[in-house]
């Protein structure tokens, strides 16, 4: 049963919950129990969680409360209930990547980002739903159950970090971690009306995060406000000796940079992001947001990212090529699913992989293997890498004239479950505006900018390398203007 008091608690932002804790108005146990109750009451309909670790969470909460009572509270995340995408390894807690092939897998180590959240005193409520191996844009490719959009339970929350966005939108926790390879944080954030940040490649350690496409994957935070996201990023960003692709430069103070306003900001508006399949209502919300920025003292600069249109093609070759190698370790030998009754080695591989992987990983393994195979490598994989250079150069040129690039996150708001599962290419095209940011290894953020046909729309901001601070500052300025993001009503109706 969710009480009125619980509802008041779970409706807080991370920032507000943290302030209440610091003021001694509430305990971490109260917050955690409220979240667990909210999950119990709503997740049957939402499907954001693949595993809830209630007992463990309550123990962490009690430890936090004792710490605070002893005067040793750790910082803004101490005692705050969070959850992470089930792509982050959690020692002793099953981690599935949303795949049957990892059913029952219990990691012997923690992802660096998880270690850092726990070191900051956070309470981990469980593991969040996702598309299998983060491959998808709708969360429908989860091998366990689909996740639904709390704004409209017949629609997808977006993917692949669908659970990470839906759990926030459903008020089940105060902050989450997701991963973004081609838009997997920003798309669900946009569809669910929360803030999601894909940091610069190399800003957050990938160690212990199950790999999809190693040169594109980047873990990042989602929250209900920009402050929440800035606090989470501050906790997880920074160098990690376990990840040589994680930059050696220290993290910035994102909270300190947050309130700088938009005055003087030069916002690049790429011509190529406002055409084609962009739905008029989405375009309208994005244009309104740009006008708001002008009113706040920012200038709009028309820019061109001429190679954007090649993003999807380059992305699907590079990402699948890397994935085909990353998913080779799921072979039924050391962990994970092994097909029963196999007698020969080749059967062990092909049967285990056949039974363990869903259609989307198989499709991508096939495409990636093909793109790398003898005779095709240069035409597909190598060519895509060169196009990647061109896409990066587009941004480098643009950042000579602007400080951030702004545009839509997706062509439309959340689509219906089942609408695109039959046509992979149509599904892939949902990522058309988010993918170039990954290819160029830049930071990107989605911040709510209103509703279209009653569904949330996100504004995408892309920044210079390692300039997450400016993105957050810009998003904060808009957020202040628009006021608190609306809360979905769908869940509050009787189940």
């Amino acid at each position: 049963m969710t009480t009125a008091n619980d509802a008041a608690l779970t409706g807080l932002s991370l920032q507000a919950a943290s302030l209440e804790l610091q003021a001694g108005a509430i305990s971490s146990r109260q917050l955690t129990e409220a979240c667990l109750a909210r999950i119990a009451a709503t997740d049957g309909r939402v499907g954001a969680f693949l595993a809830v670790t209630g007992e463990r969470a309550l123990q962490q909460a009690d430890r936090s409360d004792r710490r605070r009572a002893a005067g040793g509270a750790l910082g803004p995340l101490d005692g705050v209930p969070l959850a992470v995408k089930d792509l982050f390894l959690t020692r002793g807690v099953p981690t599935t990547a949303g795949s049957r092939i990892l059913e029952g897998f219990v990691p012997p180590y923690d992802a660096t980002a998880v270690t850092r959240l726990e070191a900051a005193g956070a309470v981990l409520l469980g593991k969040l739903n996702l598309d299998e191996f983060a491959m998808g844009s709708s969360n429908e490719h989860s091998a366990y159950r689909p996740c639904r959009n709390p704004w409209d339970l017949t629609r997808t929350p977006g993917g692949s970090s669908g659970g990470s966005a839906a759990a926030l939108s459903a008020r089940q926790c105060f902050g989450t971690l997701g991963t973004d390879t081609g838009g997997s944080i920003r798309l669900p954030a946009s569809f669910c009306g929360v803030v999601g940040l894909k940091p610069t490649y190399g800003r957050v350690s990938r160690y212990g995060v199950i790999a999809f496409a190693s040169s594109l994957d980047q873990p990042g935070p989602l929250g209900r406000t920009t402050w929440d996201v800035a606090a989470l990023l501050g906790a997880i960003a920074g160098p990690d000796p376990h990840d040589l692709t994680c930059a050696a430069r220290p993290a910035d103070d994102y909270l300190a940079a947050l309130e700088g306003g938009a005055r003087g900001l030069r916002i690049g508006v790429p011509r190529e992001w406002f055409g084609g399949g962009l739905q008029p209502e989405v375009e309208a919300r994005v244009r309104e947001a740009l006008t708001t920025y002008q009113r706040l003292g920012a200038t709009l600069v028309e820019i061109s990212l001429p190679h954007s249109r090649y993003g999807i093609a380059a992305y699907y070759l590079i990402a699948t090529a890397e994935a085909s190698a990353n998913l080779a370790r799921y072979d039924g030998v050391r962990f994970g699913l092994r097909a029963p009754g196999v007698r020969a080695l080749q059967e062990l591989y092909s049967e285990s992989r056949e039974q363990g992987f869903g259609a989307e990983p198989k499709r991508r393994i096939m495409l990636g293997t093909y793109a790398l195979s003898a005779g095709y490598h240069d035409a597909y994989y190598l060519r895509a890498q060169k196009v990647r250079t061109l896409i990066r150069r587009d941004f480098d040129a643009a950042f000579g004239r602007c400080d951030v690039v702004a545009g839509p996150v997706a062509p439309g708001p959340a689509f219906k479950l089942g609408e695109r599962t039959g046509d992979p290419l149509q599904m892939y095209l949902a990522d058309i505006f988010t993918i170039t940011c990954n290819l160029a290894a830049l930071p990107g953020l989605s911040v709510p900018c209103g509703l279209a046909r009653g569904l949330p729309v996100g504004l995408q901001l892309v920044g210079r390398p390692f300039d997450e601070a400016t993105l957050l500052k810009a998003a904060r300025a808009l957020e202040r203007e628009l006021g608190p993001a609306p809360v979905p009503a769908a869940l509050e109706a009787a189940p």
Binding site: L89, Y109, Y207, I210, A211, A328, H377
Partner: protein, 489 residues
């Protein structure tokens, strides 16, 4: 038309690929021990098990040793090199790909000189690259014939050293492998153990008619874990390929396993089916950058290499080519030799003596005990002291031998041992004369035969006198007195 064509009508073309495990403390991408032994899967962690989520963290020492090796072999050290993934499925390969280097290895070019039949020849290298070793598949671990996988070796750092196809006979291949091994040993980057597989080689072998301009199709030979097997495998393969060509059959490009029990190579079909490794740059590892500082540091760490050292021993110390060769060979005697000689004050005369002791008595003891010079209780300085005692006449040759053996096994101070064990040489003429007289008196028949000139029995009498003196007599004095007593004889 039938025509018999001898194998000598064919040119043999061989290139070797050597995999050498680097002597680092930890694996190439994780902090696990590279040590041998231990139960299966006792030197493993999430990284070398290839668990989900892990990333490789490159060992800085591996890069250093690769540069050190490249410098010794005259390679061009690449300021930027790139790791790649080599994709294939095998139970001993945890990630389903090996992290290796492909298009941009750390070293290019270079080479080394070998001597075959007294002729010197330079063998060029194509490249040297860094990569990770695989684990081990253990066969028949269970009653049902199942195999087991042990990943202790997975991730041990390897250098792959690839030669150009410059070798023209099995003997050249063996010489090349020996010379390369000696260099790696001298550098201290590898332990040179063919049998245990920490130094292993594959051979690409083809034949072509003499005068032809195009190489024949090559076969890749594996599993030669000794110099002898390498020679046998290459010779067998050459005979096989010549026979194929002679009968108009094609040589198939394939991997062939050497079977030492049969002295044959046979096709490894299992390795053939999918030679499509789908290499691509390893996204988890940034390009490896080797700066000038690192190169300078590795240049400063370069030891004198075996061929240069042997030349110095022959040139300035006057040792024979054979002795010089033994000293710089894989027994690791050269450092001991240099240290002992330096303690003894240097010079050609002392060099000959130190060399004789090392190649003779000490090599015998080393063989018997299996101990390398580093593990001897006898230090170079102590050997120099023994030689000093010998030169000073404090001990005779037999005494020195006893002394050396004692020091080899237990260590200690030579002078103190001479006192404690009563090894001091007897040079006192009175004592020796008494012993000579007693021996001659006890052997009248032998004395008679010697004096009559029927037989030279000097050796017999020396032996008897020495025996009476418990081996400690001064040989010069003994000889002189015997000569005097027995007459001119």
């Amino acid at each position: 038309m039938t025509r018999t064509v001898a194998a000598s009508d064919y040119q043999v073309v061989i290139g070797l690929e050597v995999h050498a495990q680097l002597l680092t403390l930890t694996k190439i991408f994780c902090g696990c021990s590279t040590g041998f032994g231990g139960a299966p899967n006792s030197h493993v962690c999430p990284i070398c098990l290839g668990l989900p989520g892990v990333l490789p963290a490159l060992n800085a020492r591996v890069v250093e040793l690769a540069v050190k090796t490249g410098l010794a072999l005259g390679c061009a050290i690449q300021p930027v090199s790139v790791f790649s993934r080599k994709n294939y499925f095998y139970p001993d390969l945890p990630k389903g790909y090996q992290i290796s280097q492909y298009e941009l290895p750390i070293c290019l070019g270079g080479g080394l000189a070998i001597t075959v039949d007294g002729r010197e020849k330079f063998i060029r290298l194509t490249r040297i690259h860094m990569e990770e070793d695989a684990g081990k598949n253990l066969h028949d671990v269970a009653a049902d014939g199942s195999s087991g996988v042990d990943l202790n070796r997975a991730g041990v750092p390897l250098l792959e050293i690839v030669s150009e196809p410059d070798l023209r006979s099995a003997d050249e291949a063996v010489e090349y492998l020996k010379a390369l091994r000696a260099i790696l040993l001298a550098l201290g980057v590898n332990d040179g153990n063919l049998e245990e597989g920490s130094f292993r080689c594959d051979a690409n072998v083809s034949v072509m008619r003499k005068g032809a301009t195009q190489y024949g199709t090559r076969a890749e030979l594996k599993n030669m874990n000794s110099f002898r097997y390498l020679k046998q495998a290459v010779e067998y393969e050459v005979r096989r390929q010549v026979a194929l060509v002679e009968t108009g059959q094609p040589v198939v490009q394939e991997t062939r396993l050497y079977d030492p029990a049969r002295g044959e190579t046979r096709s490894m079909r299992s390795k053939e089916e999918a030679h499509d490794y789908r290499y691509f740059p390893e996204p988890d590892l940034p390009p490896v950058r080797v700066g000038e500082a690192l190169v300078a540091r590795m240049r400063a760490e370069q030891p004198e290499l075996p061929r240069a050292r042997a030349a110095r021993y022959q040139g300035s110390l006057g040792l024979s080519a054979q002795d010089a060769g033994v000293l710089v060979g894989d027994g690791g005697l050269a450092d001991f030799f240099d240290a002992a000689l330096s303690a003894r004050g240097g010079g050609a005369e002392a060099a000959k003596k130190v060399a004789n002791w090392l190649i003779g008595e000490l090599s015998r003891l080393a063989n018997e005990t299996g101990l390398p010079p580093r593990a001897w209780k006898l230090t170079p300085a102590r050997l120099a002291e023994v030689l000093g005692l010998l030169d000073a006449g404090t001990v005779n040759g037999a005494g020195a031998k006893l002394l050396v053996e004692e020091l080899f096994r237990h260590g200690g101070d030579p002078a103190e041992l001479v006192r404690r064990r009563g090894l001091a040489q007897v040079s006192d003429e009175g004592a020796i004369e008494a012993a000579v007289d007693a021996v001659l008196a006890a052997s009248p028949a032998e004395v008679e035969r010697h004096r009559s000139g029927k037989k030279d029995l000097t050796g017999f009498f020396v032996g008897q006198v020495m025996k009476a003196l418990k081996g400690k007599g001064n040989p010069g004095v003994v000889n002189a007195l015997l000569k005097k007593k027995l007459g001119g004889g």
